[in-house]
Symmetry: C3
Subunit: 281 residues, 3 copies
């Protein structure tokens, strides 16, 4: 799908399309996230399917509208299922999202993630240090510093656009990069979305589940708008939930409520979003 520059209208249109189409999202993910991720997708308006064994993973891609591959707790069987699903998604030109948890820190999954990159994920989503770590795995590793601030991962994210159509580093302010192609060459873009709550890092699998929501959105809009819309949906629901709570147990419950409840008005009222051209230094 051709990449356009997202704005509030394109985000609202994607959100409405998600609600209408209820895309079926195949999740091959870690054991910590599997239940919360399914509930996030259901509340947000999508349909989850955790078909993650090597015997069925590729067959199910035929039915799925989106796919998320999350490296949180890989096992040899899970990795085999991932490989088969990715190959089938590539073959069918279906969108898929790579969430490279800790790929830069642990050697086995680092190899796996580097291999997966060659299959060209539609989107890569991680936190800042994961994006930096993943970029460092490539053949032309540039040795990025590790950091938790997404602003420090923009160069790493940009380098990953060799493999993916859009790359997101989430954090206090989510940073999302993509490029557009023009007759005069490529342009690089950076979208920023202010995250909704400091409680997110205290709810396990909230980042992983955002990756699944990105996969849901990739089935209804172009990759850049998909990543921005998923992060916007998350940030707005998170902000509304945060206003009602002051501890992580309540936040988790209210966040699920608000993923379900958010309206176009909420996006207009709560979303803090900007997009700018990234000019080479």
């Amino acid at each position: 799908m051709a990449i356009n520059i997202p704005n509030l209208d394109s985000i609202l249109a994607a959100h409405q399309a998600l609600k209408n189409q209820k895309p079926l999202v195949q999740c091959i993910t870690n054991s910590v996230s599997v239940n919360f991720m399914a509930n996030v997708l259901l509340s947000a308006g999508a349909s989850p399917a955790m078909v993650d064994n090597p015997e069925e993973a590729a067959e199910f891609v035929n039915f799925a509208q989106g796919l998320v591959i999350n490296l949180g707790t890989p096992t040899s069987a899970l990795v085999e299922a991932m490989q088969l699903a990715i190959q089938q998604a590539s073959h069918l030109k279906k969108p898929w999202v790579l969430d490279p948890i800790a790929a830069g820190a642990l050697s086995w999954r680092g190899q796996i993630a580097a291999d997966f990159l060659s299959f060209k994920p539609t989107v890569i989503r991680g936190n800042a240090s994961e994006i930096i770590g993943l970029a460092g795995l490539g053949a032309n590793s540039r040795g990025f510093d590790s950091s938790n601030d997404p602003a420090h991962s923009v160069e790493a994210a940009k380098s990953l656009l060799d493999h993916a159509s859009a790359v997101s580093a989430s954090g206090e302010i989510d940073h999302i990069v993509a490029k557009t192609s023009h007759e005069t060459g490529e342009k690089f873009w950076l979208a920023k979305i202010k995250g909704g709550s400091h409680f997110f890092p205290l709810v396990t699998a909230s980042g992983c589940s955002l990756g699944a929501l990105v996969a849901a959105y990739t089935s209804v809009t172009d990759p850049f708008n998909a990543v921005v819309s998923a992060h916007a949906h998350y940030a707005v629901a998170g902000k509304k939930a945060h206003l009602k709570t002051d501890a992580p147990g309540d936040f988790q419950r209210e966040f699920i409520n608000e993923l379900y409840n958010v309206t176009a008005d909420d996006f207009e009222q709560y979303l803090e979003f900007s997009v700018e051209e990234l000019v080479a230094a």
Copy 2:
């Protein structure tokens, strides 16, 4: 156990027996459901045990009062554990429940489910399309149409009574079929229970956990009454929870509360239940 026609009194008696006996239910289930299922059983009054490896599954059947086999996210090791547990349950004549998630849609698990059918589950529980899909796997497949309305799955459910003592298709109105044997031949029965909330499909594993609750009830009453009582317990708790909530995060929490809180008075006030003889068309 001889099958009787359930009524409010038999449901209340089963609920009281569950609370008193706290049956130990072995769950070999999918990764999405494992935590929620355990909490559902605990709140409802049973004791869960997720012993699901091939090394211990059969040994644990010796201690368990009921067993649920759920095909949501099968792995080769999990399937081996299921086979061993089912064989031991058959050998010891302990009740077990088959939840054939997506068995009609995916070929590998379809084979597995067909194999499990030959071990005669006490109860089969699924949604309408799963019951239809499972019935279509048998040697004499009658090619039922796929549908989400349990009313359309009654013929499929009835055909599965060749293998199981009772079959349930859950949905907006749960449909449960069973047969009784008489000197003059067999009679077929259809029980209907109005489900408690449209939020159930937005809480992942709520259907799977109902299958586990059916397994709990099979240890305290006959199979038809067990299925009806478990669905009644669910529907009444769901209706009470629904009255207090308007979003899925809250519903999930209140449902766990109400599974624990429901009283005989609640069954009398909220249960919408009927049973009729099924006459061949």
Copy 3:
């Protein structure tokens, strides 16, 4: 670390150290507990990491400050990961906690637990019957009776001090034993902490997650104080949560809130704690 006799001041100091240091705790645990355990650690102030495959388990121990090994739903791959992680923790002299779920009841995991004991866990945590069962697995089995009352497990717990620095049996009143070495020989100690709520047994994985919190505390204080502080943190949060709720769904949420919220004042107000010398009968 040398063992001291815990008191309110040492508990408060450990709690403050946990909040300041946010120790990274590697959890190799059962599938039921994995999500709740991560949220418990996050709310309490630690950082969870569920790195549990054989390819990475030992490598991650290099980064972890504490390790918990939980035998709830072992698989052959998980057990291999546990063995590798335990060996590396022993090699690096990093603290680790053994949670021997059902080790006395099932033969396969009984062998595994007995093998793990030889690697000298820093702490063993279980419920009373698990502590009794584990003690019965040793070469000099003394055939302890099974029981759910921690008071009946004190002799079993004491015998396990041959392998571990501190042993806890949790229940209505948690019983924790440890020994100190003096010029004149050894002294044995028994700490008791009144548990916070009768809803704990209705929230699956609440015991498992306590084991992970013990592992977190072992990285900031000596083993006896670590066990006592983790149990105290749990009991105080549980008591505060219990005051606000009357059903298990609400209790689970409030408990996560209170793990996050508890203050030094709360410990002073709610903790019911005693420690005494254990004199041989």
